[in-house]
Symmetry: C2
Subunit: 682 residues, 2 copies
């Protein structure tokens, strides 16, 4: 029980390490977005929440903090990384505002910017940026969320009238869950199958007016309301149907595909599937923003639970004067600390992702370079994978924090219910997590070859022959450092578990082995007589997703290792180093069975792993509060009554108890010690 | 991939097996509680929800379905098991109504009935039953939820005035999260330290008026509102503080402790701690009801997700005419089916618990027999353990079902958001799950000896010497059958995994080994020089909770085995038998690392376990809908729009797609097959 982390760590140093390349955007938000108008309001109606969030979005627009990603010539800053960092900071406030922001400036504005051309920019971009033109991103349809390439909405060109005819053929094809649709939206970027001269050219996007100046639906447009949701009450999600709506030819967002007056279709990208996924690929910012925002909500939940656990007493320690708070319990630490370690790990991985995204997008959209296909596909895969990891972690961790605060965690005044309900949809929007894991897996299995975005061919017999023969792990962060650490480890037994090289090697082995196993099984199925294509894939689906999952976990660990390596101040570096150990070992522990099954852990070492994790918890326990201080969340953003009230309450109670004990001349209250029975509830 | 479960199973047979001893109560509810007034309303304000739920509670009272547990002489039925079964059925409706019912007739009425004496019953019981007298159960205090024996509220007898003085010494001692307090309650059963003649006799309960006829707080009573919560908007939780409130002597609920006019204290139970836990022990019904209600919510969520997954198409199968629905995906089955198997398992365990509770309580409270201490303690332990298992399973499963329904699962109109938010508090009220697991562990470690309810002495050096020397597993269900099955298994290797005896033996070994290990480590710590008592326990806390967890899982498996054994109809029996295999094997799979570490699984058998689980999923897949049909939830209770709309929508879409394919003369839509890319969200 020796504590090897003796030095106190200055949270400011942690903050600086975490803030990274867009530190100025974060600092600016902490200083200037600390405004009660951006906080959630508890107990309001859906109508009130929608009104308030619309006002907040307008105020945010006026502050100029939402337009970093737009071109300089229209008043933006051409700063793609800054724009997602900005959204990540907004997400510490009311998440309805974050989603509204993401819809208006990320999805709607982003589609207009990246799929449209100069005439669209000139005409609409400034109004989008100022929120004078609220808009929707209308892609998802009611009947088939994930199969985007098969959208059923059609937009058919008529050369006679020089207009498109936009049409919803049946209810399953109506646009659904569309933010800004139920109340605010004036226009929508609508995705539909482009048909001209009798031929379908696949999914394209049009800018379509949906409401007139008075806010009434345009002719042929039916607008529905998704009504109350689990959370995000301030976001007006709705449904759009089009009954042969006439759309002028120049409203096609035609960067990647053009229709001439006579109906002739042209595109610089021949292959229809490739064209579609190129278009989708430009919209990667949305997925990156959701991951980052999930991270913010997770940090806030941990901040609340850690501070509460530091004040809250549960039982008096038997025969001791020492005050035991709930953070002192081993099982409480087992809940909070691995979650905190993973939150740090994901933060570093997110930071790296944002940098990559910024560099890739800047090259193409600011400097006008050709798309680097390999880089673009790796980016999309990374964005998908981290979105899965961040949102799944948020769902689990916020739930755990709510429970760690007991009854107090169930009251809206303590923020956690909103964090839980608002982020709950993150695992299934901007791509369902299970489907995104398949996307990541496909990239790994094919080496990001053609039609990466599509899973066309999963079941085809020919497909497996195309799979990469040898599994080569691509590295990103700190390549040289990581290779050196791994190479220094001779085997997997008898190596100290706190050896970073051993940890990295374990993650790497698991990923490589899972990938190779999945590949082998797919090949085998493809040569099995009478096996239907769907079954070839479905039989291995769990294995394939496991490969993707292990890939993501390795990437995240490598990012954390690189982050520690960048930290210069010795005490902070040592603390982060230990936290990285906890991330690595608790991740291995969570999948211990796999390592035992595959001979990477002996039973004796598996038990040692558990006690090593417990030892790390003891070492990190005194730094719990410092670790959440490092997130540097302004007090004004927290909006949790217990953070204000609980410490004073616990002090008063402890003082009074001590007084009574002194009066009675006893050291602990009578008949008690550590009674743990619990009340029937209310 | 052979399907050994060929026969179709009649869901009516499943229903009958599940309905058990109180089938008449369940049938009555299905037939007569199918009333829109009991359904949740989506999008209402908290004030509207509270009004509606108060009306519904009154209507429920008028129906006579809430009073089964009260004595016959006051219009009840002396049917303790019937009363909790009735609440379990109410829980398929709006859960705010269930909780309101639980507060009024379970907690408030139950305390009055079981802690009070004839004069209290004569005066108040009929009004409680009719809801003419709405009341509160005021135990929990703001500052220390789980340490009930150390409540800080005091109630001090003054012989001069022949009244008690009820007082809240500081804010941490105010009563909090109290149902019925914020709006409806007229009286409260208040728990406080009883002080008379200068001596504290521990916690007792008083019946205290909190509002006058006009609904204004009584003098000295301060009533606060907990405001909006994560869920349960129709329950008016609030806070109560008492400023030297005078309480007449005869308002003490004095079954277990009496104060004479002159202030002399008497009780038939000498030891204060034992007395307190005897009082608490009578209130076990609340915990049993929460477990049962969690089960109902889980069943409803699974019903919705399974039916949605049976209609919903995601991607067309490549090159096949076959319609693939999401229930056909292996990974989707891996989510739904083990959860469904566990839901069945818990249902059988709950049924057994209710029977035991009914028999124990009927003996004491109806037939006036002495309390059988051992039986009572085992009952409390079982109730605590199952409450943990049921509520943790509900939280996980409802979350999973929400995600399995994608965006539709996030809309309130599809019921899942309410199920999630309303049940969320179940894991921490009526006893925090972590604290309850400790209670279960203590019973196992001490053989349910003195002061079972208290964890007094966890840290004492002397305590560990008292622990049971030899770990003997108590059995409940189907003792003879289970012993026979286990004894028939020679070892743990080379036994088929579908051998029920092997499965039981694995569960049993794990429990015994965990318990023995925890005992050994506690003993070792108690002889470690300089180790503080708190640390002796805290060092082993994770191990101790593991022992409790494994105990609960064994009990649940044994109940399932007994349930299968009671099923006579061959096809249903075979289906349940396979489902029981899935429960057993997926539970072992979830803790595979433990079995590998402890030599109970070889790596090769661990891999075989995974493929055996997948094989069971394939066999059970065709019976998915039958299995939820077995829950026999009336359509009128479901209140989920997708169950009505989705099948028709999918049919229309499939028909139109087929038409287009026929027109184009191709078997699958162009350029597609199984595209799994996903839209940026809204």
């Amino acid at each position: 029980m020796t504590n090897t982390l003796n030095a106190a760590v200055d949270p400011e140093v942690l903050r600086e390490v975490l803030d990274g390349r867009w530190a100025h955007v974060r600092r600016d938000a902490r200083e200037n977005l600390d405004d009660p108008d951006f906080l959630p309001v508890y107990g309001e109606t859906m109508a009130e929440a929608r009104e308030r969030v619309t006002r907040a979005a307008k105020k945010l627009a006026d502050s100029g903090r939402v337009v970093l990603g737009f071109p300089k010539e229209y008043g933006g800053q051409d700063d793609s990384g800054g724009s997602v960092t900005s959204i990540e900071m907004v997400a510490f406030n009311d998440l309805s505002i974050m989603v509204k922001t993401g819809v208006q400036w990320g999805l709607f504005g982003g589609a207009l910017q990246l799929l449209g051309t100069k005439r669209h920019h000139d005409e609409y971009l400034r109004d989008v940026m100022s929120f004078a033109l609220p808009g929707c991103f209308a892609m998802t349809e009611t009947g088939h969320g994930s199969d985007v390439q098969q959208l059923r909405t059609t937009c058919t060109y008529d050369a006679a009238t020089r207009t498109f005819d936009l049409h919803t053929p049946h209810e399953a094809a109506r646009k659904d869950y569309i933010g800004n649709a139920a109340k605010d939206g004036r226009m929508a970027v609508v995705f539909a199958q482009l048909v001209t001269q009798g031929k379908n050219h696949g999914v394209h996007a049009w800018l379509v007016p949906i409401r007139d100046e008075q806010g009434n639906p345009m002719p042929g447009v039916t607008i529905g309301d998704d009504g109350p949701k689990a959370g995000l009450p301030g976001v007006d999600n709705g449904r759009l149907s089009f009954d042969h709506v006439s759309v002028p030819r120049d409203m096609l967002l035609d960067r990647y595909g053009q229709v001439a007056e006579d109906g002739t279709y042209t595109s610089s990208i021949e292959n229809e599937t490739r064209r579609f996924f190129t278009m989708l690929g430009t919209l990667v910012r949305g997925r990156v923003s959701v991951g980052g925002s999930a991270g913010s909500a997770t940090k806030l939940a941990l901040d609340i639970a850690v501070r509460y656990g530091e004040a809250r007493r549960q039982f008096a320690a038997p025969g001791e004067e020492r005050e035991i708070v709930i953070n002192d319990y081993l099982v409480h630490q087992r809940k909070l600390l691995p979650a905190l370690a993973k939150t740090y790990a994901l933060h570093f991985a997110q930071g790296e992702l944002v940098e990559t995204m910024h560099d890739v997008q800047t090259a193409v959209h600011v400097h006008g370079q050709e798309i680097d296909e390999q880089a673009q596909r790796e980016l999309e895969s990374r964005a998908a994978g981290l979105k899965v990891a961040q949102t799944a972690h948020a769902t689990q961790t916020i739930q755990m924090c709510r429970e760690a605060c007991g009854g107090a965690g169930y009251l809206q005044e303590n923020r956690l219910p909103h964090l839980k309900a608002d982020t709950d949809v993150f695992t299934t929007f901007e791509g369902d997590n299970t489907v995104l894991l398949q996307l990541v897996a496909k990239g790994l299995l094919t080496g990001y070859r053609d039609n990466f975005g599509s899973l066309d061919g999963w079941g085809r017999v020919g497909f497996v022959a195309d799979m990469v023969r040898e599994t080569v792990l691509e590295r990103t962060a700190a390549r040289a450092l990581i290779a050196r650490l791994v190479d220094a480890v001779p085997g997997v037994d008898d190596v100290p578990m706190l050896d970073r090289g051993w940890q990295l090697k374990m993650f790497e082995f698991r990923e490589k082995h899972s990938l190779e196993g999945a590949t082998r099984r797919l090949r085998k199925n493809s040569t099995t007589e009478g096996m239907a294509p769907f079954d070839m894939f479905n039989d291995v689906q769990d294995h394939v997703l496991k490969a993707a999952q292990t890939h993501i976990e390795r990437i995240v660990l490598e990012s954390f290792v690189a982050g520690v390596d960048r930290t210069e101040e010795p005490a902070a570096r040592q603390l982060l180093d230990t936290l990285c150990d906890l991330y690595a070992l608790s991740t291995i522990e969570a999948d211990k069975a796999w390592f035992l099954e595959h001979g990477q852990l002996t039973p004796a070492r598996a038990k040692l792993l558990t006690s090593t994790v417990n030892q790390l918890l003891r070492e990190l326990r005194p730094h719990l509060v410092t670790l959440v201080d490092g997130f540097a969340i302004p007090d004004g953003w927290k909006a949790a009554a217990i953070l204000v009230e609980e410490p004073a309450r616990q002090e008063a109670m402890a003082a009074r108890d001590a007084e009574l004990r002194a009066q009675n001349g006893q050291s602990t209250p009578e008949g008690t010690a550590t009674a743990v029975d619990v009340p029937p509830g209310q």
